[in-house]
Symmetry: D3
Subunit: 237 residues, 6 copies
């Protein structure tokens, strides 16, 4: 039995509240159970120097946890003067994932930055961030299309992410913090609606797994992402 009492293939409740902040071109507060991430999409009509003049745009992401999003207070990265390796790893993952479903040429010479700030953490913050960032991006892009600044939709598909793990020998979906702390293996899947895999990050520190284990985790992830796509659909309608 999972600490959360959920079935092995059961996601936590997914809620997506769009328009959570008013200044961003797109924004939502996404929750996977008690994990809550504020995602905003900011459109800027300029590109970093190394991307200019190529006739295409850029999508990038930044990620942070509020100091007390977690059980014990973590030092504020701004006060320490640098971002941790974990933060950088996650924000690179978010950016890559969203670019996997964006046609940068259709986006035009502009940059959209997805800020994913974790207000409350209970496991799965990076997967909630990717899933919510897509909603914020979709809303921002829709705004650009409504204003006629973009002609053809640059978003090629929906994308979502979920973590799976092996908990006491059983593959389970959408680990919360208690489960994650005790899992033998942990994998994050970023999946594109329609069946393609955008990214797999499967790690076993201590325990390990084989092909069959990997495929079982992936099957769970597909189940979870289907739920997320539905929630995204409702949110952006």
């Amino acid at each position: 039995m999972r600490p959360s009492g959920r079935a092995a293939d059961e996601m936590r409740a997914i809620t997506i509240e769009t328009g959570f902040t008013k200044h961003a071109e797109g924004s939502c507060l996404i929750s996977f159970g008690e994990t809550r991430v504020l995602c905003t999409a900011s459109v800027e009509e300029r590109l970093p120097p190394w991307l200019r003049g190529k006739g295409e745009g850029w999508v990038t992401a930044e990620y942070s946890m509020l100091p007390r999003a977690t059980h014990t207070r973590g030092g504020r990265e701004a006060a320490k003067g640098k971002q941790t390796g974990r933060t950088q790893e996650i924000q690179r993952l978010i950016g890559r994932s969203l670019r996997a479903v964006t046609d940068l040429k259709k986006l035009g010479e502009r940059q959209i930055t997805l800020d994913c700030d974790v207000l409350q953490a209970d496991g799965g913050t990076r997967t909630a961030a990717i899933s919510g960032a897509w909603v914020a991006l979709r809303l921002a892009v829709q705004g650009l299309m409504d204003k006629g600044e973009i002609k053809a939709d640059p978003l090629t598909s929906k994308i979502a992410a979920v973590s799976c793990g092996i908990f006491k020998g059983t593959p389970v979906l959408d680990l919360d913090y208690d489960e994650d702390s005790n899992a033998d293996a942990d994998a994050n899947f970023v999946l594109i609606e329609g069946g393609q895999i955008a990214e797999v990050q499967a790690t076993a520190e201590g325990a390990t797994y084989d092909e069959e284990g990997l495929l079982r985790l992936l099957r769970l992830a597909r189940t979870g992402c289907d739920s997320i796509y539905r929630a995204q659909d409702i949110a952006v309608k």
Copy 2:
């Protein structure tokens, strides 16, 4: 007339939602109109080295704005590797203000950190932060007292803050962003319930004022803080 359509001595709507995040010993989301600040109080049973062994505790604060809390996206301090002077000035002000109503001996050898993260900014973020931080602190202290870890209440009073300014020649209360950008003078008052002044930061870049002007701003601030004390009262009940 004010851009906001408010009367000169009219506060924006104040709302305080306690328990906004679950891990912190005290937390609230405070709104002054469209300005929304998440305040959390984290209790730690240890002190920085220079404060140890004096038989008293410490209250400190950190402040940050999410990158897209504002009209245009601001660079993330963690990414830039340092906090701005403005951020440091504000977090020092929040810490000093809360210490003005805390008996550090009664707090005992522990530290409470108030994290004030601006989710959405529309003027007056530092005053909302101080007012909300008091609520988070009050809740955290209450928790310590309920568990018997503190005997006598270390909080000596309520404290609240509000900004006032001279807008087109008229002293007005609780400036929002549009008003603030066009005000001739700007003053932040931190006032203790019962009439004492904890802090005055009155600045005139360009315009100036005299004793009478200062006193008129202060009278407005008293009005505003009275509203805030009432909202705090309701929140911590």
Copy 3:
């Protein structure tokens, strides 16, 4: 009785030695008693990027204490790799204060930087810095006018600053270090010759005060600033 033996409304000896360093366009060594601050004004015929092309100039300030300006040696900020919040707060205050008496359009598209380096500290370093920075600025501006680079005088008035506090219940003027360490409240006033207030920073950590207390401190500050204006007058003649 004050530790310094001074009357409650008595300033320390003010001396201003102009031309203390030869390279700066304006410079002075200002002393408030044992507090000594070297102030230089550097004129540069260029502006930071965000100020260019607006047909006006900029006045800014930097502040620092030499490591052994104080009773015990403080770490050098350059060695530690960052400026403290206190330093940033003070240099922002100095810059704002001088801009309050400068017509930036008349200054033209150039920047004047006021460097205020405390050679010896005995309380009131920021107020001495503002008062001395005005002298350095006045000299630099005079030089620009003498060379015909500026037509109309951009300085609209004299500006000076002084700290006041409540020491053992009595409001006193121009706190030195011993008094400051033991004062119940501490306020810095930046006043423009002619009666206007540019800035008030009144802080009560522990003790507090009310309107009457604030006004009494302000009256003392007016007395002190009158002495400083006279010293500035003599210095720039």
Copy 4:
């Protein structure tokens, strides 16, 4: 056809020169074709504070590229004052991978740091680094066992890593730089001798793949790692 002229399942030449530097407790220069990484293992009889007193040791890694390891010179991280996200991501991966085959209790309260410095880069630096770091670690551990400082062998197995990708529609093994720059998808596999998976990092920026694609890449990786285990075997004999 691959730019390198290799068959789809053909590794580049693997060479491992042990004892490349004399001070480290274990060291080797590993080459995957033109990619050359110097791996050293440094044993220290102390642990970082947060790991002390738990009766177990720690294995960690640092990674860097010499500025001119690449086609064009990259800025030196030490000069820029921070490590890139890519560097941090890679060194975290190396550390996790080696810990997956280390029994930290048997290691005892000491730390082994694997430094992986890329002297020349031609694709696959992180996989060469992991494979070479294992050799350096093995040699260092052997030294500790020979001196009687460790009783039971803490290394549970061999570990190796290799990158695979989809190049012009065909899954290929061990991408070099030219192939990597033009691959549609790129996956790094860290595999434990005996069949277990330690880590999968599969990324598709632009292109994507499905279960079958992932499994085909994984089969290639198994082939490649078998060659690496043999080279490791010879090196540590």
Copy 5:
């Protein structure tokens, strides 16, 4: 002819004003012509961790230029967040030089930090700094001896420094800024009273010299240091 009109072997006027600041255990303002450096010696009854428990003390130095010590304003190192290579090179030289005449065992387990802050620069700031730092150190050590905290004098000799260079083919003593900017070679000599050499830093960027050239510069330096020893003697009496 030299721009300064001095003879080839003529020092600039040397003045040393002791007790320039009151808090430091030893202090002086030293001038070599228009170059003015404030030197303070701070005694601390503690050592950095790596020097503790060896029964001896430490002498170290820090160096800085005020931003407007020079013809054009230089950025403040504290604001830029790091010390330049030049600053570090100079402060390491000052520390080494003073340790060359200090018996660290006789000093006992305490640290003396020499802060050398250039108030005005006109060439030769590092040599003035070394020469002045010795005076500050002498005064601080004398204070410790007077209070009985040190029994035997740890200072074994006087030490002084001067720059020499080849200007239009002629070796000249004590270069000022104009001469230094146009010299073909530049050498700094740190010499111990009695004839020993503590340090030579001779650089030829562009031009070069041979043994004879080096010896001629060294002979000039001896002449210059003799003048400095006399000024030091008078200062510490």
Copy 6:
């Protein structure tokens, strides 16, 4: 007798392996005995802003030690976020030395960066670095001439460097680590083929020396550099 068993005027074995890495325009691995430094020359057809438009080029250097180049592991500068004073001092020395034999006008508006990375340290890393950097520079310049991008050879001469010291009273050539740790004085000489001195850095921390001592060290250095010039000659043929 020297710990190394060498005669007082005997260099360690010098080997120079050119083309050690393939991407750099010039590269070599230079060894002075067990000290091994990888030197690469990178040509870039652009200059830092402050050097542009003067019709001449620039030669600069960066230096680093791999963390485990030494007996005990040193912290990685990139991880600590700054270069030590020692590193900066050395890389400035390398750059100055190579510029002493380069006609920057003949080089044209391009920059050559010499990266000197110490793979293994056993004393004399900076002198090996200078001597090897010349080889890398020579090869890079030759490449530019072969391609017709430079008409006239900008390198005016060969340059080499060696350390000498006074070990147990005897002047000795080319100190290794054991000797260096116990030497009474230590001097680095950078000498141009043909007899000119480019740089002398002679330091005596503790012990001292006089003219005669300095000249004896210099004579030894000339012997050592002659051997290095021969090795350089063979390497670049």
